[in-house]
Structures are given as structure tokens and as C-alpha cells.
Subunit: 282 residues, 2 copies
């Protein structure tokens, strides 16, 4: 595995692989790898000749009061895990390498942002889309891998790729869960014992909500009410949001056709957990 | 020459040429080709295996009071000229082909826009950068050609390519001029006989200004005053702007080092002409 920090070195490697017509799989991350990332790497490893992982804590996607400086970093451990996962390259540029000057162009995400987590993170997805546009052009992957845990991010990336016609296949990867159904997250360690016992009910609530939808319940309000009450009854968590949309457009679900998503965010004492479930209406 | 109107057909052709590792030259235009465009095609023809011309009047780069509907179009003539110039493809999509839905992402140009012509065309370069991002990803050219007549556009594209790391070489092409020095423009026909006689003085003023700069004149204000007076004395035109900047950053020229540009816009009775000259300070 090669550890690359400069754009020039990356471009040289990519050129070589493109010339020999090798397929490139790309897993963009902010590092501090967990099992979700490893799942992305494992799926990408199977589908491509070359596997590239990027590790870049992107200042552009952090708000003023967010935790850019304190965002956890552990490059040594990440490098070991990436090598074990079969990555051919880690691209880990510095902030000044990625943003040599103040950006003269940025990407503005016009849709899919004003709901779910995006509602309270103004500019977050503009930062995500801008850095991904840069990374996509640098890495020129055939396939890019995103976890469905952050379904809104996957939806925004899907819009970015299709609207800008990137010649890239977006591969969404299912959320990795504990045996009891709790979505894996680095934030789960902040749950106290009692909260950890309750937390699997988040996914149970989503599953029950999905079942209602598939059984014919037409009113989003009724489903949201049911899911919210289920969570309130079974956990001490406070619901931040519970919403239903079309997927990946994240628009109001008006007709019983196509794909949809039911997504929640729940605040516990020291951790805010998110989870979601998608469904197909026929 | 192949005339293509759908994204799918374009992508299939590009895939084929990429696979056989042929270099692609790209000339993006809004059609109604004139000698400036033909120069771009001629330079591109020499430097690439495959030559692609796009013709797309991009609604996103027209302001509300601008002339999108009345913008001149003549596809038959354009196709003939492109074929004569050796183009392998014309890509001429409809508006609905390029913007199937309301865009979910756009490019915002943060720099180089608030000067020269951009100052009075709010959002114009956002539209240009957005459509070029789409076209660059569709055509995947090795080289893209832009005329220096619209130096600000070339500067914005240079920022777009370098900031977003498009693996594309921007090839700026010198302004094509009449024998008397007047920059060729489809708007020159709107000059009356007397104005047409005066118009070569625009370029003479720029040349004289450049000479002042190279001879050591340090004050932008003095150079602009000289150029403006020269134009007022020799023409009936009214100066819209005369400005000096670094190039391609289009920032205030503070030090006598690097590249710069002297650019003007002058209003005649029925035509507003623009021209510019670049210089190198050592």
C-alpha cells in the first residue's frame, strides 16, 4: 500500500492506472475508520482493480461552531486498517494541499439539503460537494462508495454525480449493525448502559414504520406519529426529527410509487444517534 | 462528422475514444460560429486526435433581462463550418437534455467575477462554470480551447479547472483581428461607417497603454487615464470600463511582477465592443 499526501503524486499514479485501463474504486472518508468504512473498503475491494481510500478532514464542511479542530484523527491506525482491507493507496493531503488558496469556485447544493440533518447544518453539504468534486477529478474513479447510514449524504452525492455527469457509479453500501440491530457508530460509546440497552429500539421503530408503509398506510403523519411514540415508549431518547421522503430526491412523499426513506435522529444524554430505513413502493 | 444531440450517444462515443486512448480536443460554444470560433477549432484540430465542438445556448448564463430567446442561432451553417474545420463531432443538446430537472447542484464562482463585464452580469459566470463542469465531465477532453477575446471567461475557466482539478489543459487562443487591428466580433456589423473607421483605435489605445506599462509606468490610474483619453479623442465611443488587473486572478496589480491585463469596453451607437491586451512584467 502506498501512502500519498500530494496531489501531484496522486495524479501520476492515477495516470498510470488509467493508461493500463485498470478500474478504480474510491472510498472518500474523514479517517478515524470504523466498521462502516471497512465495509465500504471490503465491497470496493471486490469490485475494482485498484482501491483508493482518501482521508481528509475537510474544513469546508464544518460550520463555525462545529468540531473541525477536535475531530478525531488517528492516521497510524487508519493506515494499518486500510492495508488490512486491501487498499492500494491512501490519499491523505493536508488542508493547504487541498485548498492552496481561498477557493475561486465552490459547489452549491440547491436541493436535498434543507431536510433531516442538513436543515441545521447550513453550508455543510456545499462543503461536502465541493471537496468531492475535487477528489472525483483527482482520483477519476469508476465507482465511489458511500454508506447508507448517512443517507442524506448519499442522496446529495447521487445528485452531484448525475447533475454534473461524473462518469462514476455511486455504490451505496448498507448500514453495518450490531447483532441487536443498532447501527454501528463511533458515537455509540457515549451511550450509558441503560441507553445502550434501549438503543436497538431505534431500528425496531424504523422496521415497524416500514411495515406500516408497506401494508398500505398512506399518511406520513400517522407513520411518523407511530414511530415517534414507539421511540418515546421504549427509550429515554428525545426525538430530534422523524421524517419520511422520496429517495434520493428527499421530497415530500405524495404518491405510493418509487423509493422512499424513513429517517430519525434521537438525542441521548451524550450522544445523538441517527438511523434510517428505505422502502420501495409499487 | 457526427451530429449528436443526446448525452447517452455522446457518452458512448467518448467511452470508445477513451478506450483507444485517443486525445480529445474540446471547443465549447453557443454556436453562430464566427472566425474566432474557427480559429479555436483550427488550433484544436492540430493538437488532438478527436475534435469535439459543443453548441449549446445555456439559459443558466443569461440574466433575466438578457437575450436568451433572441440569441442568434444557425445550426445548419454551424454544422457546415464545423465540418470544414475538421470537427469529428458536434454535440448540440436541447435545454431539456442538459437540464432534465431543476439543477440540484450548481457551481458558484467566488472570485474573478466582480470586475470587468462580470460586474454587471450577476450570476453569469456561475452559469458558465456550471455548464462547463457538466460538459467537461461528459466530453472528458484532454484540452479545452477558449478565446482571449473574452479574457474574463478564460480566467474563470482557468480557476474552475485548477480549483476542481479537472484533468484538462486550458488552451487560451489569441484574439482574431481584422487587418486594421479591430478584434473580430459578430457585433462589429452594428457599427456605422464612421464608427467602423474609428474602432481600430480601441486596440491602438490598448497597445499604447501596454507600452506605457512596459516602459515603467507604475500607476494603474495614469495608464487608465491615458487609455481613456486616447479613446475619447479618437472615437465617438463612450467608455464603459477601462481596467488593469493581474491575470488570470483579476486582482489589483500591486507589484511589477507576473502577468497582467488591460481591458476595455466601449459603447458605440448600436454596439458595445470589448477588447483587451495582456502583458508580462519581469
Amino acid at each position: 500500500m502506498k501512502f500519498i499526501t500530494t496531489i501531484e503524486e496522486l495524479q501520476q499514479s492515477i495516470k498510470k492506472h488509467k493508461k493500463s485501463q485498470q478500474s478504480i474504486g474510491f472510498v472518500p472518508t474523514m479517517g478515524f475508520l470504523h466498521e462502516g468504512h471497512l465495509k465500504l473498503l471490503s465491497v470496493a475491494r471486490q469490485q475494482n482493480d485498484i482501491l483508493i481510500l482518501s482521508i481528509f478532514v475537510n474544513p469546508l464542511q464544518f460550520g463555525e461552531n462545529e468540531d473541525f479542530d477536535s475531530y478525531p484523527r488517528n492516521m497510524e491506525r487508519d493506515a494499518r486498517l486500510a492495508e488490512e482491507a486491501g487498499a492500494d493507496y491512501i490519499f491523505a493531503p493536508s488542508v493547504s494541499e487541498m485548498y492552496e488558496n481561498e477557493p475561486s469556485v465552490t459547489v452549491r447544493v440547491e436541493k436535498r439539503t434543507n431536510v433531516l440533518c442538513g436543515k441545521s447544518r447550513i453550508g455543510h453539504f456545499d462543503g461536502v460537494a465541493t471537496v468531492l468534486t475535487k477528489l472525483f477529478n483527482l482520483v477519476q474513479p469508476d465507482r465511489a462508495y458511500f454508506g447508507m447510514k448517512d443517507a442524506q449524504q448519499a442522496a446529495v452525492v447521487s445528485g452531484l454525480i448525475s447533475d454534473f455527469h461524473f462518469p462514476i457509479e455511486l455504490v451505496p453500501v448498507e448500514t453495518v449493525r450490531e447483532d441487536d440491530g443498532l447501527a454501528k457508530s463511533s458515537r455509540n460509546v457515549y451511550l450509558n448502559d441503560s441507553e445502550r440497552m434501549q438503543a436497538p429500539h431505534l431500528y425496531k421503530a424504523l422496521q415497524a414504520g416500514k411495515e406500516m408503509i408497506l401494508k398500505g398506510e398512506k399518511s406520513p403523519a400517522s407513520i411518523i406519529k407511530f414511530v415517534s411514540e414507539y421511540i418515546s415508549e421504549h427509550t429515554d431518547g428525545i426525538i430530534d426529527y422523524a421524517e419520511i421522503y422520496t429517495y434520493p430526491e428527499l421530497e415530500e412523499l405524495r404518491v405510493r410509487k418509487g423509493r422512499g426513506i424513513l429517517a430519525i435522529a434521537v438525542k441521548f444524554t451524550k450522544a445523538r444517534l441517527i438511523d434510517n430505513i428505505t422502502f420501495e413502493l409499487k
